[in-house]
């Protein structure tokens, strides 16, 4: 009997301390105040970006919510955001460890021009202790063939495939971009192995 009571108490205590996501979530909803920053409705005619996370098995349609100095800010309906510059992801807010900033150097120019080259790339991600973990890579950019890609519901176009392979002592990353007229149309970019590749497609 005593053991049973102890077990019940332990369960109650665990529930209280938030041992399941659901209970924890309810507690936070009830007592933790609102979650800041729900997204406003997208403006009419805003540019759109399709984002897929194959590792998490998720996808979303993002709208352009603003930008400055060449940076475009894309917003999902739940206000997760992605920042891009010249088609390369330079930041995320609300995705995994979050890419807080990125220094693509001259990568965008090389990729857009369909030229090969080698250059450094630096990513800063949150490390779980509220510090930025700097991950730097040496990347080889290598154009491949032209491929037919789907860019809309019934829209296809020919675009140059550009492969990017990055190395560091910690491991390797790879990216693939499809480029047309000096612009990245779609791209598979990886900056956090835990999140896996992020597929993005700029809707025409």
């Amino acid at each position: 009997m005593r053991r049973k009571t102890t077990l019940c108490l332990l369960c109650a205590g665990l529930l209280l301390a938030g041992c399941t996501g659901r209970v924890a979530q309810e507690m936070v909803d009830r007592y933790g105040g609102s979650v800041p920053g729900e997204a406003a409705a997208p403006p009419e005619g805003a540019a759109r970006l399709i984002v897929r996370l194959p590792k998490a098995g998720q996808a979303a349609l993002l709208h352009e919510a603003g930008g400055r100095d060449g940076v475009r800010r894309w917003q999902a309906s739940d206000n997760v955001q992605i920042y891009t510059r010249d088609g390369l992801i330079i930041g995320t807010r609300g995705l995994g460890h979050d890419l807080m900033s990125s220094d693509p150097g001259a990568a965008a120019a090389l990729i857009a021009a369909g030229r090969s080259g080698q250059l450094p790339r630096i990513y800063r991600l949150l490390d779980g202790e509220d510090r930025l973990e700097i991950r730097s890579y040496i990347c080889d950019i290598l154009p491949a063939n032209s491929e037919k890609i789907r860019i809309g519901e019934n829209e296809w176009t020919m675009a140059l495939r550009v492969n990017e392979t990055c190395h560091s002592p910690r491991g390797a990353l790879s990216a693939t971009h499809w480029v047309k007229d000096g612009r990245i149309l779609q791209s598979i970019q990886t900056f956090d192995p835990a999140l896996g590749p992020v597929d993005i497609l700029f809707m025409p």
Partner: protein
Amino acid sequence: MRRLPADLLSGHDGKAPRSFRALPALFPLMAAFGLALPAQARDAGQESGDRRMPGLSSYGVPGHIDMPSAWALPDGTFAFTLNQFGPDVRRATMAFQISPRITGVFRYSYLSNYFSNGGSLYDRSFDLRYQILTENPNGWRPALSVGLQDFGGTGIFSAEYLVASKHFGESVSASAGIGWGRFGSYGSFRNPLSVLSDRFDTRGGFTGIADTGRVGFDRFFRGDAALFLGVDWQVTPKLQLSFEYSSDAMEQETSRMGYRHRSPVNLGIEYRFDNGGVLGLAVLHGSEASLSYTLSLDPARPSAPSGRETAPPAISRGTTASLASWGDLSGSGQRARLEEALSAQGIRFEGLSLNGETAIVAISNQQWGNTAQAWGRTARVLSAELPQDITRFRIRSYDRGMALKDVTLSRADLEELEFAPDGAWQAFVRADIRDAGALPDPRLDLENLASLRLLPYTETAFFDPDNPLRMDFGAELQGEWMPGGGLYFSGAIRQKLVGNLDTSTRISDSIQQHVRSDAALYAKNDGPWLAWATAEWFARPGPDLYSRVSAGIFEKMFGGVSGEILWAPADRPYALGVELNYVAQRDYDGALGFLDYDVLTGHASLYYDFGRGYHAQVDAGRYLAGDTGSTLTLTRRFGNGFEVGAFFTLTDISFDDFGEGSFDKGITISLPLSWITGQPTRQRVGQVIRPIQRDGGARLSIRNRLYGLTHDGTGAAQGIGWGRFWR
């Protein structure tokens, strides 16, 4: 190379696009010491060599089966081990890697029919290990560790060892060591340290229950010694086989519990689950089976490393409204909009004054565990809601009406750095952060702020031999009221709903004033009781000086008056505080009455930040039972707010007069609720674990001590947590 899909519009799985917020939560159960902590699934491919958890022995420390190895846990991690050894012995162990080389261990053991009268032994023990050498994986140097097992408990498991470990290839590791005490009892020989002194020949004994808790200096590395060996073979990444030659003759178990020691050879098998849990099965001494389960926990890896909050508002150019239109702020639409926009970001707007092109905004952070992030979110809102002619924002943080820090950020810097590669560092460097104590108050019309909340609560009691874990669960009605001017009234009434704290029948045998040991009497109360009810006044008497005056019911057992002053400059690693309290002991019924005991108690405190998250606190003064002495607390604070600490108190009460345990000591674990849920909140959960609670060295438990209220802001002024400024 893998062929990548050129058709990003069609998902492989055909799932419709949905929102990212559905990312699965990760909250398996971890029932350890009343805390629920998420186990951390580890991506085997991501785990680098030095973060891999070594095999643990049945004692819950790095080892093979029963014998220790020289490996350390990954820095800053916990390992929780449950072990059932034969039918009669159970152990629960919590090991923590205090620093890369130092491991601290707390263990609770149950030995059935240990005493001649048929009684069972409930034993609490502590270990300390130090890794003298790390392994050179490419050369010959092995890892070398020295360990003190059960150095301060009853001494039942008391042993010391020096052990070397080495990897051979990818899959084999082996250890060889010399043990004393329990680990020097089989195949033993004369202590080689006897060449230094004859004192090493004789090992001190254990004299009785009053001896518990004392550090066994007269046992360390004394008496006969013996050699032990262990080998692990990692058959697959998940499966490991172990063999060892044990130097433990199991003398106590054999003589007291009828244990049969047939062989020094132990054999074990371990299976590692995807969630990081390890299940171990072993056959020991040719006679008994042992079953273990270990879960590891890394405080540096919260459930959501970046938090589950959504994106912050963007830095904006500001409104086109003229500065003049902001002149009269009372009741204006702009002010209401600013207040609402800040509130949506978890920030309470407390006041605004404009001075030329500078806006001074008083805020209090309601939601963010990270102060820099609260400042970042505030700056973003100000950039959008204030006129574009305002070029500088001075954000002045308040907590309970007390001014803390003043941060100046320029609109131009914010625009330049929002997407800059090193934006976080640059933002910190360019921010002008000052002590807000001596600055004029921008809060023009202080509002009455009041709130009432209903919360659940738990109370726990550990290690009573009749029932090692007791717990009460109930409802708590909390209220607070801030009329302004640094005054803060708060209180809480609790009603137990279910629990068994009241089933304790232990009557305190303490010869001191029963300032803490009558907990069982306080737990008998079934009706509602007052957890605390205080009036507090917080102020800033000078630069870097903070003060608090409190009166009322402070805690379950004491109420009275209290005053505190703290000097905490942001540019020094130390802070100094003085606290003086006159308190009376509360009646057991939890109402407003007092017993016939009052005491003047107080401490002078030194807080020191060693950097890299290591903190020390020394409190010297008079404790609740009227004893004088001091407390040393060492804490490791992770960047995300997870804290692990240990403390001990020595006072003028002798070990004999103190009673069982000899002196007050314990372990503290405290973590932000957001560490578990990922949701931004300032709430914390925690637990103090004492092997035994007696009356000596007991300190008043008062809320809102100044160091705790101010050190987040002080840390942010030193640059801590600015990785989240743009989050």
